[in-house]
Amino acid sequence: MEKIRKHTKDAVKSMDEIRKQTENTVKGMDIIRKSTDDTITDTIIESIDITRTFKMGEVEVRALRSVNVKIRRGEFIAIMGPSGSGKTTLLNQLGLLDTPNSGKVIIDGSDTSRLSDSEKGKFRLHNLGYVFQDYALLPELNAMENVYISLMMQGKSKTECESAAAEILAAVGLGDRLQQLPSKMSGGQQQRVSIARALAHSPEVLFADEPCANLDSETSKEVLDLFEKFNQEKGQTIVMVTHEEWHAEYADRVIRLKDGIVQE
């Protein structure tokens, strides 16, 4: 009996050990699954609880209230919402053009809240691209120069700059207007130069703030087609602010804002 009791006790002990091992295995599996999930989602930008308040005289306007968004690499995101909902403010925070009052913006694993102004400048130069509503080209530079100015700043040689600019301008359909000054171009052409400038240095993320606001429908479509082309063919991550529903149809996902709060 004594022997049987001892055996039973050993068997229970072994069972406990097996259970413990199994639990550890499951735990390990969970860790592996979690990291696999992260790899699949591959978040490029994450905003954590960002709040932005502007002072307009005596009045404080809360443009963003604890906004949390995650954008995956290769996604085409449209930010929508009524006027004053905080679309552009959110884009400026994500694009490091502005600094939130609180919260963090993490881009490609880097916590940008810890960067100084000049470090942010360098980060923008190497990792981000911008397309503004009114094109914002430098009027004294021709199309090619507008495109390669950021490459020059990166220290690329003149030949490298010129060939990269010519290539990207050809890709946006302006291969025959390299020497043209912005004042001699239509709005659509200027916006295409602006897109070429934003993409010339192969940024991680392209930010576009109402890029079609000053363009007619046909030209808007051309610009959006270009965005779609770069997004689909090159996997370019794009974050675009728009107020037109049909523009949003180009996007993979829409972030809707209302009164500085993400709706869905």
Binding site: N92, D98, G121, F123, M153
Partner: protein, 401 residues
Amino acid sequence: MLEKARVSFFLASRSITRGNKGITIFTVFVLTLIFIQLVLFSSMLAGVTLKFNELMVNFQTGNVVVEPKEEERYIEDASALQKKIESLPQVVGASARLKTTGNFRYKEKEIGATIYGIDSADETFVTGLEDAIISGEFLSRPDKGEIILGREVSGGFGALMESRSLGGAEVGDTVELTIGGVTREFRVKGIYTTRYFMADASAYLTRADLEEMLGIEGRDFAQEIAVKTADGTPEYDTRTALLSLGIGENIRTWNEFAGILRLIESTLGMVRNIMNAIGLLIAFVIIFVVIYVNIVNKKRQIGVQKAIGIEQNVIIASFVLQAMLYAGAGVILGYVFVRFGLVPYTVSHPVEVPLGSMSLRLDNAEALNRAVLLFLSSVVGSVIPAYKLAQKDLLDLIWGK
């Protein structure tokens, strides 16, 4: 570092070549005027100084003056010493002079003046007095009882101190001259002007006449021997050569007689410095305003440049470079205008000033100094507004706030 400078230069050059031409032309024009103003006064002063020097050498002292030994009144055996001096190869001529002061009386007027007794032939080799005659003739060796008067003595002919002159003595008139109690009458043979008031306040008669009045006839005395040397001979070398001849008399260069001129020159120099400081201040303000207006109009561009990652220092440097290029163009144009336009023009068409015909004289070292000052002004005048604006918040710049 180099790529940053490259971007700054690129932005600056494009801004100048493709920016508002009117602003560029206006800025360069203003800077050209400022540079001209900065060098013009110096050039005028240099011209005046040169004129002073020329007048001293050409009409009064020659290059070097030999004077009696200490505590002696006269140079004895002057002819022999003169010949000795003339034997030097670099000496063009020497004139042994007697020099004293005397009182002139003409009609009711009486004035004092410096009186020279000269050998007219010798004097011609040393000074340009003969060519300075504006009425009558120059003295000749056998003349007796004849005198030539400077216009400040005779009066008329635009004399600067007319009230202190004889009030208009003319050629052919007789003037009374008193030296050391001896009075004699002289016929005015000629009137001269060098336009240099100090030289024009003298009178010249023959050495024989003055010897007679001083009571030293036939003694071969002189009170100074003015020596003229070949152009470009340094006065110091002449002095050394004269000393090597064993001349024990006092030897002085023309420079040592120019005391009052140096005083005038240094006074004008101070005025010039004040003018320069004011000119630079104006330059600074103009550059500041032009660059500031330029930058304010480019607020949004600066914002965009910052947004796409162009460093603040690069943006500031591009504006500073622009200002320096403007200043460079202003300096070059100003220099070319003065050096190849104004100076040659005043050489061929001298400006008539009380001193005589004056031309501008541009000193390259002075011009360089003014150019550097103008450059520094443009750097400071552009750094301040560029820095202030580039420091602004990125979104404020983009929104043009």
